[in-house]
């Protein structure tokens, strides 16, 4: 129910709850909270029609700090709970907040299926590449060699790339944001909200206690320009402090390269233009990482389709229209019956 009644009056602070925020001082979650509150105000759905569902983790405390409806469920299951909410009432604006452990370790299957089904929810995955709440064990996104309480000699398993996972799950919307990019984040979140289907947004989030600086090569003030490629549909892929660098297809291959504009005769016209509808391109963007490549942020992929909940209710409507038996009394009396007389 996207009633826009109060659109002009809602402020970010209208989306703050009365609960004291209890993340570690300096945690990236604070910035995301701000960004989300700002986004909600800009979207303008009345708080009573907004529901935040989370699992368990530092990130999953999120709903407590918003003035909307909120449900802090159990570890990994938020997508399943959210699917139930949407199936019960598709008019609600449903957001899922999860972490890299909650969403990709214990909750990987539900995340996979909510994406595949394309339920109309927004999924915010706070990726800090660590288990914050349980005090610092490595997660499925931790890089090989991560030393943690459970891997004192360094982790050995290959990490997942959340965006690549989402694409493999046949997601219809895949995007990225960074906790420190306060201006950029609301734009991405608004796009996610506007998308009719499951919108997956990976948010790089700094865990100052257990994994500080893991994204420093692109998430900090000094590194943001050179380290981030902000993709925009229809726009050439340019980045760098002076916007002098760009991304180009390597001819006759399925790969990308970084080029310097003005060098070796490269002009802006040679650069790749972002096409949100290209799943393969999205995969290539998802894979890019430092030190040789910038990290792509923004909407990597967006495919317009019908959402699952919409289809469910369309089918219900069809059944209603065509059903011959619409009364339970009648249903029970259908088929073979007989009468016993006294």
């Amino acid at each position: 129910m996207n009633v826009q009644a109060e659109i002009d009056t809602l402020k970010a602070k209208d989306f703050a709850s009365d609960q004291e925020v209890r993340w570690c001082p300096g945690c990236g979650d604070y910035a995301i909270l701000k960004g989300v509150q700002r986004t909600l105000a800009e979207i303008g759905t009345p708080p009573e029609n907004v529901v935040f569902i989370s699992g368990i983790g530092c990130s999953s405390r999120f709903p407590y700090y918003l003035s909307t409806y909120g449900f802090h469920t159990i570890h990994g299951r938020a997508p399943a709970v959210a699917t139930g909410v949407k199936l019960a009432n598709p008019e609600l604006d449903v957001w899922i907040v999860t972490g890299d452990g909650d969403g990709l370790s214990i909750g990987g299957n539900h995340l996979l299926h909510v994406l595949r089904r394309n339920v109309d929810v927004q999924i915010l995955l706070f990726n800090n590449e660590i288990y914050g709440l349980t005090k610092g064990q490595y997660s499925p996104t931790s890089r090989i060699g991560t030393r943690s309480p459970s891997t004192p000699m360094g982790s050995l398993d290959r990490p997942l790339l959340p965006a690549q996972f989402a694409l493999g799950a046949n997601a219809s919307f895949v995007a990225r944001a960074v906790d420190t990019q306060q201006k950029h984040m609301p734009d991405v979140l608004k796009r996610a909200h506007a998308h009719n289907g499951a919108s997956f947004v990976e948010i790089y989030q700094n865990c100052i206690v257990y994994n500080d600086g893991v994204f420093s090569s692109f998430a900090e003030k000094e590194t943001a320009d050179a380290g981030q490629l902000r993709v925009e549909h229809g726009q050439p892929m340019i980045f760098g402090k002076d916007r002098q660098r760009g991304i180009r297809m390597v001819p006759d291959t399925f790969s990308l390269e970084v080029v310097e504009i003005g060098k070796d005769g490269v002009t802006e016209a040679d650069l790749l233009v972002h096409d949100e509808g290209d799943r393969i391109l999205a995969g290539l963007l998802a894979e890019m990482r430092g030190p040789d490549y910038p990290v792509a942020i923004g909407v990597l992929f967006c495919e317009e389709t019908q959402s699952y909940d919409t289809a469910v209710y369309q089918q219900v409507a069809q059944v209603r229209e065509h059903a011959s038996i619409t009364d339970l009394n009648e249903l029970l009396r259908g088929g073979a019956t007989w009468t016993v007389t006294e």
């Binding site: 909410v85 019960a88 016993v340």
Partner: protein
Amino acid sequence: MVTSTAAELEPTDGHREEVESVVVRFAGDSGDGMQLTGSQFTLATALAGNDLATFPDFPAEIRAPIGTTFGVSAFQINFGAREIATAGDAPDVLVAMNPAALKVNIGELNTGGTVIVDIGTFSDRNLKKAGFTEDPLANGSLDDFQVLSIDISKLTLESVKEFGLGNKEALRSKNMWTLGLVYWLYDRDRQPTLDWLRDKFAKRGNIADANIAAINAGHAFGETAELPSGLHGYKVRHADIAPGLYRTVTGAEALAWGMAMGAKLANLRLLLASYPITPASPLLHILAGMKQFDIVTFQAEDEIAAVCAAIGGAYAGSLGVTSSSGPGIALKGEAIGLAVGVELPLVVVNSQRAGPSTGMPTKTEQSDLYQAVFGRNADAPLVVLAAASPADCFEVAIEAVRLATKYMTPVMLLTDGYIGNASEPWLIPDLDAFEPFPVEFAGQAEDFHPYSRNGETLARPWARPGTPGLQHRIGGIERQDGSGNISYDAENHQRMTDLRARKIAGIADDVPPQGVELGPKSGRLAVVGWGSTHGPIHRAVGNMLDQGLEVAHIHLRNIWPLPRNLGELLSGYEAILVPEMNNGQLVTVLRAEYLVPAEGLNKVNGQPFKITEIENAIRARLEG
């Protein structure tokens, strides 16, 4: 042993012996259409005014190789002129469409019972496939029975010759030929089946014709062939049955309809979230076909997702229902604990099957009572109800919805594979006569506290997202009394734990006091049952009462909390016997609650109790 081939048989004199009740089992290969034969016979029997109970027995394999023992499918019906409580301990008549069917079922036939075999299938090859080393029809192994060997295959082919079907297709009518013969044997009316065939094969007229011809031929065979001595037609008179409109109903159907009815009475949309599993899937299948009744069904990726989606649905203001069998219910335990903590209504249906682990999915058992009452981390009390028969599922489903919504609590509804698949006649209720119990959602923003409580029920308010001003946050971490905010306060946790326990315990005042179904209200022996043991206990206690023994039948629907008067009631008996299809679970609960010396009578072989087993146990205690 008396066997006859078709050629020898001559017409009988039309005399029919009257019998009070009969158990017939149809058995054949999975492809032989035994379930269909059984259900047509059931309908004809119901129309003949008998009381009845039926039980289908499917093979574990989807489609086992033809002719193997593990591909045998059977359907048993018990019908009579008196009240019928079970599908029958042992068949009086066995129809065996092939050697494998004979092999698998002959062991259970009553001594002196009748076997009808299709001798046309008794080739060496088929005998071998069935695991016979000798021909059982020739080696004297059937001497204890009346054997009627007929080349049903051949006779069927002859009877449908004129419709120009291929051999394979023509042989498909074998079951109808056999049904015709059994119709003759018990004097049933063929017409409804003929009508049904016309309807079913409306678009393939020659198939309908062939089947009809086969039925008629089988019937004519009975009328005209001379049956071996001792075999003749029977008559089973009307049972004394309450007047009204009837149908047969399986437990799965009654459960689905009861759930739909419960949602309607509560004025809620029903969201069933489930994951397929034997024998629970039919609830999903049936409700999936009922979308016009404000029902949404969701096949989730697994059982955990299913229960979580049901909880999500409940949070959003629907009736959340999830359904599975033992292993799947085990997976839901953590999430059910969440529902206990956040105090949302939820109905969890457990169609029990034999375990542990995967166990024997197609076999019945009642061994999930422990899991229902105790199977979650921490103190997480909820309501447990058990259905006693197919038709009872309807009422129990409604009761589950009533309690879940009134008390804002998960309710576990126990049924089992036997109840789910078995069918019995059902006096169709008038749904308009049911008292509605519409849910009142919280609506007032002033002074709204998500964990305030109704003084009487101790239920917290149900505030639906979408309601202005009632935004609130709930979760699995302990909640502060009143506000629902996260609280690690020691005394608050004590208070909330006590409140959760008291709320559930209090429901004992809102359920009917426990009655005694048969026998004295105190005395020497009470047989206490729950769930699908109802039929055999009921009949066994009835028989023993007839024989003058001092025994009562008490049957529990309310497993947790137990009815308020149960302790006192039980203390009035010298001995308590608890038959269960498990290793002793309800008996543990009763002993712990009331310190009564209840003893178990336990059986876990995947089969329902036989009446005689319970009779013997009663006798051993009262006469021994």
